[in-house]
Symmetry: C2
Subunit: 305 residues, 2 copies
């Protein structure tokens, strides 16, 4: 099977694949988020989720699901659920007691627009909604798949995943982390949910053999870490307008980053190495159709925002 999909997609080919998926996600999120919620809460949830974000995690879900022949209905729910977890984490991360950020995706952050308590509750409700989306009544998604998706998402989001990484981040401000400690923090804070997206996509199909799952996890871990390295680079080289969020924050807040640790060239080399590692993992997976996963890995490393 190897070799079939190694030809690299150009931007137009990637867009032809991702645009219909993005349209489905936007439409589903608009249908599912904040509807029938008390009015201010629903508004805050929709404000936090709709019309923003690169939807990278949903795309990873779709790409992994297609690589294993997954069920589209399950993949759509998994894609939306993981995006809701991502969105809630941003809402809470932006709060004054955390990063105290006022700008996100070029808009005032949720607590600026809806107050701190409103942002707190919107984040809490978005996390619950993620698990609600994964567990529809009826037979749209098999119970085994529902349970597995909840298991993967809860683990990726919780104390041994994203929330754990945020706690390490919080405790590390002003400390001199070495590269191993920085990597561990990012493995949890950002990597767990990106890797979880790949695993959730893979869970939408028939159960894969352990070596295939292991290869997909390795791919997810590599792109997850690459994403963060590139984030650190962009924080230094991009301006706030392009980023849609406050640039130069990490240096200003004395947070350790890959750039502060490895220098700009070192961080760039690290990103290329992680890209190569992610592609090698896909080679090992023996899956036939990994072109979208490959294209997403390239996109993660080559993005400018």
């Amino acid at each position: 099977m190897k070799g079939v999909d190694t030809s690299r997609w150009d931007a137009a080919r990637l867009a032809a694949w991702s645009d219909p998926h993005l349209a489905r996600v936007e439409s589903a999120l608009s249908r599912w988020v904040g509807v029938d919620a008390p009015v201010r809460l629903g508004d805050a949830m929709r404000y936090a989720v709709l019309d923003g974000g690169k939807r990278l995690r949903p795309l990873l879900v779709f790409a992994a699901s297609e690589a294993v022949g997954g069920q589209p209905a399950a993949a759509l729910r998994a894609a939306c659920a993981v995006e809701l977890i991502h969105a809630y984490s941003l809402v809470h991360d932006d709060l004054p007691c955390m990063d105290n950020d006022v700008l996100r995706r070029g808009k005032p952050t949720v607590h600026v627009a809806f107050g701190e308590a409103g942002a707190l509750l919107a984040g809490d409700a978005l996390q619950a909604l993620a698990f609600e989306l994964l567990t529809p009544a009826g037979d749209e998604v098999a119970a085994e798949v529902q349970a597995q998706l909840c298991r993967l998402l809860a683990t990726a989001a919780g104390s041994q995943g994203m929330a754990g990484g945020q706690a390490i981040d919080l405790a590390s401000v002003g400390l001199a982390l070495d590269e191993a400690q920085l990597r561990e923090m990012h493995r949890l804070k950002t990597g767990a949910l990106l890797q979880g997206s790949v695993e959730m996509g893979a869970a939408c199909g028939d159960r894969q053999p352990p070596p295939v799952l292991a290869a997909l996890r390795d791919y997810g871990a590599a792109v997850g870490l690459a994403f963060q390295v590139v984030d650190d680079i962009l924080d230094v080289v991009a301006d706030s307008e392009t980023l849609g969020k406050t640039a130069g924050k990490d240096a200003a807040s004395d947070k350790p980053t890959y750039v502060s640790l490895l220098g700009l060239d070192g961080a760039r080399a690290q990103a290329r190495e992680l890209l190569a590692r992610s592609l090698a993992a896909l080679d090992r997976s023996t899956l036939a159709d990994t072109a979208a996963l490959r294209a997403l890995a390239h996109m993660i490393v080559d993005r400018d925002r």
Copy 2:
């Protein structure tokens, strides 16, 4: 079947039933909460959950599960999961941007002990952990039951449940709610998770006929509302030491309560009426073994803290 279990348990009989369940919950929570989490986060999670609380929601899960012949392993996980959601909601509710409370169960609140960001993350991680506990790998709990438990808990916790009720509460400070509006707020804020506890217990057994589930839901709704009415009464008549939290807060913060709306005697009459309604629902359920559910309804109305 009716009549078999109508003899009311005294306090000793209730304790003989509940004590072993409480011991199992404490032991399981201690084994499952905050273990392998980054150190400060794990400490905050355990601080928020262990050695405190009446564990009313877990008891409702166990009582409902036993009424339908549920699986003990599933019920234990459901009991712990619902308690984690309750615990996280208290942590977030106590934050300065919400109720700004410094005392809970006789101890400093989580944000006093661990900082605001620490409390925020601990709450977030507890919510994720709830869904993780509901979805163990392997065959300890059937996938259908796992999916159903996640569905019920997510709905009870989210924007059309607990978080929605908190949002209405937030928007209602200083407003003159009538009784219907107050009831709707509490139906979501407190009632949804109490009713959800009953439904989750019922989901631990074989699927019940719709009329039985409807009767259990009615029971849950009545005890859920009764719990809040009694809470409002206790806020007026009890002192902080007995309550383990700041008494007289509602009046001080100008929040509408059943006592402010109905007077003390009116609120007490309301609680008795809800108790009667909950017992009538159990009569309708046609389930043989509802003695524990009955005893819990009495306990909820007769409690002094």
